[in-house]
């Protein structure tokens, strides 16, 4: 933990970090590639729709000694339709017969029960009309649409429209990836999958919202200071909330992994497994997109604003002037932690613009630390440790 804790601290202060914004083109590229693959997969291979979407019957038998092939033969012979048979973890069989209509299913069930020598009453059946799955899916699309509109409105109010837009893009991206993986791997799509997919909506945004919240805080007074561009601040936000993002994702994935393990292992399919699988894929995609896609997108959008452009110009100008002077000032500051500026040099968590190590270290206290403090004020504190100690009491009072 000490390692982890230290990394957390160093991430927090920006000593270490990954330049998410700077490398955004790379990640955009990767995402576009994945998305294209997903769409191609969807078009070429289509989705493996479950019985629920085509109409038919799913029979689940109790433990039986019959083999899968034998059962399949029987089922197809009795029903006159294609059957898919899976062996379950408990020794039972899961028989899916597409196109079997409701009226005929009882007979088929009885005759299968007879052939497999199990009690007809012990067989679970699910009969689905051909339009049922479609309706679930239609409702799901409707829900998705309504949710997206509402959430964009909400985020636009709670944050701002750029963030809402970026979050929406990230969300669409997550769903595309999940659907794409389903089509490429050939997982069966069932109502459970749809449920899982819909849950991703809330969850993928959860991550995004956490990052955005920190971003909003640290960028509140961004125009009043001249030390960092918006992109740099955004990058710091990502890095400083990285531990949190990782933790929340891991903690969210763990129960889902438990579900997946049990659903897939013990029950050998069914609703638990379907929900868990799409959740797992979607959550992972969601964590990725909120870090690598959503925030860089916000930064991109923001940097188009005239104010931000002006800010970037001021920052570069100032930086050129100040260079060299501060490097020594802050040296003593970070020494005691064992994470001197030198440590910070290798991976300063900053934007595409190169920043000198000193600013990197100083930035810690700046935009994030005292959030209410204007960046400008924080910056005044920066130059030397003498200055800092003088400011401390007031800081505490605040």
């Amino acid at each position: 933990m000490s390692r982890l804790g230290n990394i957390g601290a160093r991430l927090y202060r920006g000593d270490v970090g990954y330049d998410f914004i700077g490398h955004r083109k790379l990640w955009y590229g990767i995402s576009i590639l994945i998305t294209i693959t997903a769409i191609v997969g969807l078009v070429v291979r289509g989705l493996n729709m479950g019985i629920e979407f085509e109409g038919g019957a799913v029979l689940t038998t109790p433990k039986t000694s019959a083999t899968v092939t034998h059962t399949k033969e029987i089922a197809e012979q009795e029903s006159g339709h294609q059957a898919i048979v899976q062996k379950l973890g408990n020794g039972g069989m899961r028989i899916q017969i597409a196109g079997l209509d409701t009226a005929k299913s009882s007979e088929v069930k009885e005759s299968i029960a007879g052939d497999l020598k199990v009690e007809g009453n012990d067989i679970d059946t699910q009969l689905v009309g051909p339009s049922w799955g479609e309706q679930i899916a239609n409702k799901a699309w409707l829900g998705l649409g309504i949710f997206m509109v509402l959430v964009v409105i909400y985020l636009a109010i709670a944050f701002e429209w750029r963030m809402a837009l970026a979050a929406l893009i990230a969300l669409v991206h997550d769903i595309t990836i999940t659907v794409g993986i389903y089509s490429l791997v050939g997982f069966e799509v069932t109502p459970g999958t749809v449920i899982g997919l819909l849950t991703i909506l809330g969850y993928s945004l959860y991550d995004t919202v956490v990052v955005f919240d920190s971003l909003r805080e640290s960028s509140r007074n961004v125009t009043k200071q001249t030390r960092y561009t918006f992109s740099e601040i955004a990058n710091r936000s990502i890095n400083s909330t990285l531990v949190r993002s990782i933790n929340t994702t891991v903690v969210a994935l763990l129960p889902v992994a438990g579900l997946l393990f049990i659903g897939g292992g013990l029950l050998g399919g069914g609703m638990l497994n379907d929900i868990a699988l799409s959740l797992f894929v979607g959550l992972a995609a969601g964590a990725y997109s909120s870090i690598f896609i959503a925030t860089p997108l916000v930064a991109d959008f923001k940097e188009r604003e005239p104010q931000m452009k002006a800010l970037a110009r001021r920052v570069h100008a100032k930086r050129a002037k100040n260079e060299g002077r501060e490097a020594q000032d802050d040296f003593g500051d970070d020494g005691p932690d064992g994470t001197g500026p030198e440590d910070g040099v290798p991976g300063p968590g900053h934007g595409s613009v190169q920043v000198d190590p000193a600013t990197a270290a100083a930035g810690v206290v700046g935009p994030r630390g005292r959030n209410e403090a204007a960046g400008a004020r924080a910056q005044r504190r920066q130059p030397s440790s003498r200055n800092r100690s003088r400011n401390r009491p007031s800081g505490k009072r605040r």
């Binding site: 933990m1 957390g8 601290a9 202060r13 629920e52 689940t60 109790p62 009226a103 009453n121 679970d124 059946t125 699910q126 009969l127 689905v128 009309g129 049922w132 309706q135 679930i136 409702k139 799901a140 409707l142 829900g143 309504i146 949710f147 959430v151 909400y154 109502p191 459970g192 449920i195 819909l198 849950t199 809330g202 945004l205 959860y206 956490v210 919240d213 531990v243 949190r244 933790n247 929340t248 903690v251 969210a252 763990l254 129960p255 889902v256 992994a257 438990g258 579900l259 393990f261 049990i262 013990l266 609703m271 638990l272 868990a276 500051d333 005691p336 630390g369 005292r370 100690s389 505490k396």
Partner: protein
């Protein structure tokens, strides 16, 4: 932990955390107490966990009535289906609407399950139409003499057993065969007008009764007057021999206007009819039930009408009574199919009874059809799921194991990463679990909430969401400590920001759950409900438990001194310079006094 808390409790300034903790404790005790008092100490299990049959019906627009699917009609349909199902002795069956056009009927495993399913599927429209003429369905003009047992059972009941003997097995399959036993046209109708003819009540003027199962009176084949020739011709061609053909006929018949004569097949007998315009609508029947007539020693069906129904019925039977066989019969047409065609000998009004060779079952069946038959909408089965108790309990078990594994993994992760802080997280998770469980148990009787598999999934996924809130808060506190603050200010300063993050992200989660709950149907709804509930509880727990507990524990030496195992060790967190460490130490020392 308790001891240090106690020591610091007294001063007024920080009494608040105790109040919230007390509140939440009170809520937990109250809910748990309520749970046990109400006798529902476990959540009601859905069909997929407890076993049983779940049927989802979708309302279909009928030709000519595009706006029939509305809230009122859906509610009426739910009421009727519920009475039908429960009228068959299936207790605890539950029927409810979902979304704007779906009805879900959950029938627990047990009595009459199969039959109940048929009843749910029978989404009939009932009408009384005078019989203009009828003919046997067989090609040769022979009187319909088939044994009832051979007659193909009609669509509503798929059960193969048709031959009921009088007094046959009860509780079994009353399905279609109930009427099947008796040939319809021969059935005697007696009407006891209770109001009018008190004596007539027990001695119903038995008209031609066919008290014996096989159709007694072979109908004449000659064309009675008053039948439009083209209909008579069609009648000859009418095919009632196969199920499919019958289904087509009844579809056409039920789609026809009520003022027009229609062709219809009999549900059981091999007879086909030309029926006149609707005399009485099924919805005008207020009540109908099977009764055992002690005097005659037979089962009869009594029915009563509302005022319009009485008038209509009086008019119809008045006219019919004057006519000759077979035109003195009226057909009870269910979904365009004749379930019974008793004859009439006199004018009847508000109360009437039908006698004949009923068995208990067939009488009850007819009674049910008469009283509940008039569904305002037609429905189609979208999904029928039958789960055996064995699989149900397997799934429940699997869900619980999955939940336990998930919870254990989360706890291990939290302990490994947050050490002492995980104590707070785990306690909060526990509180959250207790609240969720008790509320779910209480919601069962209160709003009919049933825990199904997707709901279990939702609860498991919620472990992660709940734990995420703690992580957001803990990371905030750690950030504050890295700033060089001591624990207590860190806890207080970190809170407003963490609170906002938690609220915003929980709101998004809740929004997703709410939209899903409103828009979707079936299993998705159960999932959305749990997710929404746990999201709300997450906020409650974080606000009224986690934060106050954190405030309290921040006063303990273990946490405030940054014990290596507290998860808040400033050195490990990489807090600011040593100068501050000195100050922090002194702050700790003064802490007790302040508090």
């Amino acid at each position: 932990m308790a001891a240090p808390k106690k020591g610091r409790r007294s001063p007024g300034a920080h009494a608040k955390p105790w109040r919230s903790l007390f509140l939440i404790l009170l809520a937990m005790v109250g809910l748990t107490g309520g749970m046990f008092l109400s006798g529902h100490s476990t959540p009601r299990l859905g069909i997929d966990l407890a076993g049983g049959t779940s049927i989802t019906l979708e309302a279909k627009n009928q030709p000519g009535k595009p706006n029939a699917i509305n809230q009122t009609n859906m509610n009426t349909a739910v009421g009727i289906i519920e009475r039908r199902v429960n009228g068959l002795g299936v207790s605890e069956a539950e029927v409810q609407t979902q979304g704007d056009r779906h009805i879900i009927a959950n029938i627990p495993r047990g009595t009459n399950e199969k039959q109940a399913r048929e009843q749910v599927g029978t989404t009939a429209k009932l009408a009384f139409r005078p019989v203009l003429t009828y003919a046997p369905t067989t090609k040769q003009p022979k009187p319909p003499q088939q044994q009832p047992s051979q007659s193909p059972s009609k669509s509503p009941s798929k059960s193969p057993q048709t031959g009921d003997k009088p007094g046959g097995t009860e509780g079994q399959q009353s399905g279609q065969d109930s009427q099947g036993g008796q040939s319809d046209q021969g059935r005697a109708v007696t009407d006891g007008l209770k109001a009018k003819a008190a004596p007539a009540d027990d001695k119903p003027t038995p008209k031609p009764d066919k008290s014996t199962p096989p159709p007694t009176t072979p109908p004449q084949q000659q064309q009675p007057p008053g039948v439009p020739p083209e209909l008579a011709k069609k009648l000859q061609k009418l095919d009632c021999n196969s199920k499919q053909a019958k289904a087509k006929v009844s579809e056409r018949a039920s789609a026809a206007k009520s003022s027009e004569p229609v062709l219809a097949c009999d549900a059981k007998e091999k007879v086909k009819y030309v029926l006149g315009p609707v005399g009485v609508e099924g919805k005008n029947v207020t009540d109908a039930k099977a009764q055992f007539d002690q005097q005659r020693g037979q089962w009869i069906v009594t029915m009563s009408f509302d005022s319009k129904g009485s008038d209509d019925f009086g008019d119809t039977t008045g006219k019919l009574a004057k006519k000759q066989q077979p035109q003195n019969q009226f057909a009870i047409a269910l979904d365009g199919e004749v379930v019974s065609a008793p004859s009439v000998s006199q004018r009847l009004s508000s109360n009437a009874e039908i006698s004949g060779s009923f068995t208990q079952e067939s009488a009850q069946e007819l009674g049910n059809i008469l009283s509940y038959g008039a569904l305002p909408l037609t429905f189609e089965e979208s999904d029928v799921t039958t789960v055996t108790p064995a699989l149900g309990s397997d799934q429940l078990q699997a869900g619980l194991i999955a939940g336990a594994i998930g919870l254990a993994l989360v706890v291990v992760y939290l302990v490994a990463y947050y050490r002492g802080l995980s104590f707070i997280a785990i306690l909060s998770l526990l509180v959250s679990a207790v609240l969720t469980y008790t509320i779910m148990s209480l919601l069962g009787p209160a709003i009919g909430f049933a825990l199904n598999l997707p709901a279990v999934c939702g609860a498991i996924v919620a472990i992660g969401i709940t734990a995420d809130s703690f992580i957001v808060y803990f990371e905030r506190i750690r950030d504050e400590i890295r700033e060089g603050r001591t624990l207590r200010p860190a806890v207080e300063r970190g809170w407003p920001r963490a609170r906002r993050t938690i609220l915003v992200s929980d709101f998004v989660s809740f929004l997703a759950a709410a939209v899903l709950f409103i828009v979707t149907v079936g299993k998705v709804q159960g999932f959305a409900f749990t997710l929404g509930l746990t999201t709300l509880l997450d906020i409650v727990v974080v606000f009224f438990f986690t934060k106050p507990l954190m405030t309290l524990l921040a006063r303990t030496r273990f946490f405030s001194s940054g014990h290596p195992w507290s998860g808040l060790d400033p050195r490990r967190l990489g807090a600011k310079p040593p100068l501050r460490r000195g100050r922090r130490a002194s702050a700790v020392r003064t802490d007790p006094k302040e508090a």
